[in-house]
Amino acid sequence: MFRRLITSLGTLWLAVTLTFVLLRLVPGDAIAAQFEGSSNPQAAQLKRVALGLDQPPLVQYASYWVGLVRGDLGVSLATGLPVTEMLAQRWPGTLALTGGGMLFAIVFGLGAGMARAWTHGIIARLAAFYSTLALSIPAYWTATLALLLLGRWFAHPAYSFLPSAIIGVHSGGVIAQIFGGALRDVASADYIRVARAKGLSDSAILWRHALRPALVPVIMVIALQAGYLMSGAILTEMIFQRYGVGLLLRDSVLAQDYPVVQGIVVILAGVYVLLTFAAEIAVWWLDPRVRS
């Protein structure tokens, strides 16, 4: 467990450092753009000094870490607001969209995976078709088509779950593929044959014997998909016009507002580390073989 913690911290450190270096390779920043063509050439320099941007990069890097440990992500170059405040404002929208998407993905994925592995005929084929199709279509195109076909429903407040459902369709396809494969692998295991020989019904075998081992590989996929949806928010928020962290990220990259970009990267990397950590604990709890 201790080693796991060290790796997580190392991951965060590298994520912060890598973006810190990459972002400072870009010529220009939001301040330069703000004061471009300004009659007062000292104004930009004054603002830089006020924000500590005139100091050597290593000092800036160190003070960024000091701030990070205290929960301070710096100040936006464009708006002058603290980055944490800007993020707190946008976060609920993103969380609702991706969290809802993840719920739909789990329902679609587990349902279709089960249908694929434990039924025959048309239902199994439809489930297989669904997961293949979900993997072959980019989410932003489905979203565009959905707006085209269901446009007027999106405006209705009672259907505000629709964007989440559309995002969930795609991640659900990935989950269905992994879960279906795992269920089929489990089905040929000895303990399932024993259960069958005892005369248990299909549903009893599925719920009591097959489900738990088949969920083990799915947990990690769910965690990874959740992280993927978070970073995909940049596109989905653009299409569904929800002003969340994703759109803030796009605007900040285009405006070269580095503290904001850096702050979002830190949060996203932190979420990824937490999710994989939670997934490992879940696997540890589900699979007694990992524990020993």
Partner: protein, 253 residues
């Protein structure tokens, strides 16, 4: 592997013959005929600047598929090489694995965004922005595919008669890795195609005026409620490419 080569040949052919089939100049604007619905002159209609959608889809495929295929090939080669180094040399594994794990925490789309901001527009920066962020992902996948292979009896046998690491990698591990690489190509291809489209939607992947499927999707977004053909044509072609590649790659030899 032969199938993949054949597929790339077909793509190359489609890219080359676009000028033969395209009825109009893909760049020619005709604002009097903007957002014209499909008819006999403009088989797939026109976009918001009156440009012929069919011609743009054909020429756009040149750029889109070139970018996607180059990025897929580059990522696969780099990823396989890294995966093999990780699988064969324990020291490399100990040093590189934490770095790769850390890279996985950075969303590829975000990295691509930052890389494109650093490097500017153009086809080479776009390919780089697609390739670099995916290399750790592919290397990780290759590493976990190689691990069970290098525990096989024949690898142990080869090691015990004094075969060098590179000999074992090339003659014993690689041939068994090929089916995995083949299946992975399909996955990677679709990821690259979608990611390239995503970057165009964010107005970072394309170049002004140059036709590209992702750019067409982005351009069509403004008017797709009245002129759905502007987004249907490039989107359907993207899906068709992904389905086609995966179908060829996943067929049992």
């Amino acid at each position: 592997m032969r199938r993949i080569l054949l597929l790339f040949l077909i793509f190359a052919a489609a890219i080359l013959i676009a000028p033969l089939f395209a009825p109009f100049d893909p760049m020619r604007t005709d604002t009097n005929n903007a957002l014209h619905s499909p008819d006999l002159t403009h088989v797939l209609g026109t976009d918001h600047l009156g440009r012929d959608v069919l011609s743009r889809v054909l020429y756009g495929g040149q750029r889109t598929l070139f970018v996607t295929v180059s990025a897929t090939t580059g990522t696969l080669l780099a990823g396989i090489l890294t995966g093999m180094i990780l699988g064969a040399w324990p020291l490399a594994q100990r040093i590189l694995t934490p770095i790769l794990t850390a890279c996985l925490a950075l969303p590829p789309l975000l990295l691509a965004l930052v890389l494109l901001t650093v490097s500017g527009r153009g086809i080479a920066p776009l390919i780089m922005a697609l390739t670099l962020p995916q290399i750790p992902v592919v290397a990780r996948a290759m590493q976990s595919a190689i691990r069970p292979l290098s525990a096989a009896d024949y690898v142990m046998a080869a090691n015990s008669v004094g075969a060098t690491r590179s000999h074992v990698l090339w003659w014993h591990i690689w041939p068994n890795l090929v089916p995995f690489v083949q299946r992975y190509t399909g996955v990677l291809f679709s990821q690259m195609l979608f990611q390239a489209g995503a970057l165009s939607l964010l107005e970072l992947g394309g170049e002004p005026g140059v036709p590209d499927w992702g750019v067409m999707l982005a351009d069509g977004r403004g008017a797709f409620l009245y002129a759905p053909w502007t987004v249907l044509a490039p989107g359907l072609l993207m899906v068709a490419c992904v389905v086609g590649v995966n179908w060829v790659v996943n067929r049992d030899d």
